[in-house]
């Protein structure tokens, strides 16, 4: 399936819309926006509380995903340990 490419910023000086600002969020957070687009993005945020809220909740979503799964090590059922040992013997690995 073809994916649409991220929206490009309009010509300099015309400002950007919420649609464009939201398209830019990930590149903005990854410091991948060219300086001119970064300024346009920040100018938009300075006049758009809705996009400020969107950016904040987007960042928190990423943090929540990471933090709620960080460093997980699960207890391994004894049956799985046995199955791995048996499969290794069957396959003759090493």
């Amino acid at each position: 399936m073809s994916e649409p490419t991220p929206r490009q910023a309009p010509a300099t000086g015309s400002g950007i819309t919420c649609r464009e600002a939201i398209d830019f969020i990930m590149a903005y957070l990854d410091n991948e926006l060219p300086m001119e687009q970064r300024h346009e993005f920040e100018r938009h945020l300075s006049v758009c509380p809705s996009c400020v809220n969107y950016l904040d909740s987007y960042q928190r979503t990423v943090t929540l995903g990471r933090e709620t799964h960080r460093g997980n090590t699960d207890d391994v059922p004894a049956s799985l340990l046995k199955a791995i040992g048996a499969a290794r013997k069957r396959s003759g690995s090493a």
Binding site: E3, P4, T5, P6, T17, C18, R19, E20, I22, D23, I25, M26, A27, P49, S50, C51, N53, Y54, D56, S57, Y58, R60, T61, V62, T63, L64, G65, R66, E67, T68, H69, N72, T73, D74, D75, V76, P77, L80, L81, A83, I84, G85, A87, R88, S91, S93, A94
Partner: protein, 215 residues
């Protein structure tokens, strides 16, 4: 008496990360074909590998199968492990690949369209429904069982091709390039898909974290 993290018995919760030297020693024993070394490797890494597989696959049976397949694949290719990365990192990548193979072989579950979860815009490009603020404490509660369960449930609700990219990038912390390679996609396609997946997850979490006054 202290117990070596590699040869000793620990519960998975308390087992510390092995040091580079301990991994190096284990690798030498594995390459020498020492039977006990394979058991030690399994005890060392199985807990982390199972956690990865459970994040990537929906069914417990599939997760355990993937871990078993990952170990067999690792045992078979030990000679090709060049030691440039940590042994645990190498096993992590093998587990991710085993899970991706499992996912490719499975029939797709019914799922909602990603477009339903993306922000809507008016003709002039402004948000059709203004975004409202989240409660300050929303992300401070990541340790609570309730929040962990909520986030996991909502990640599971994402359309599969978006869920997998989000899990690989944000949870397993693969780079964009590594994700692209694992999924046989272009780097730009990974970026686009990840951005959409994060937006969709944001939309699914939004009702739970809105400030009371803005509900």
């Amino acid at each position: 008496m202290t117990t070596s993290p590699i040869s000793g018995v620990h519960t998975s919760e308390t087992r510390p990360e092995p040091t580079g030297d301990e991994e190096h020693l284990l690798l030498s024993r594995l390459r020498a074909g020492e039977d006990r070394a394979f058991d030690d490797l399994v005890r060392l890494a199985a807990g982390r590998m199972l956690a990865v597989a459970r994040r990537m696959l929906h069914r417990e049976e599939d997760a355990q199968d993937a871990v078993q397949e990952a170990f067999l694949s690792a045992f078979r290719s030990l000679d090709r492990f060049d030691g440039r990365s940590r042994l645990t990192t190498w096993l992590h990548r093998i587990t991710v690949n085993a899970c991706l193979m499992k996912l490719r072989s499975q029939r797709r579950r019914p799922e909602r369209a990603i477009e339903d979860l993306l922000p809507k815009f008016a003709e002039d490009g402004h948000q059709a429904m203004p975004s409202r603020p989240w409660r300050e404490e929303a992300t401070c509660s990541a340790d609570s069982t309730e929040v962990r369960e909520l986030v996991r449930t909502k990640i599971d609700e994402l359309p599969e091709q978006y869920r997998v990219v989000l899990v690989l990038r944000d949870l397993e912390e693969l780079s964009t390039e590594e994700t692209a390679e694992a999924m046989d996609m272009s780097v730009n396609a990974v970026k686009t898909r990840l951005h959409r997946a994060r937006q969709a997850l944001r939309a699914l979490l939004d009702p739970y974290f809105l400030e009371e006054s803005s509900k």
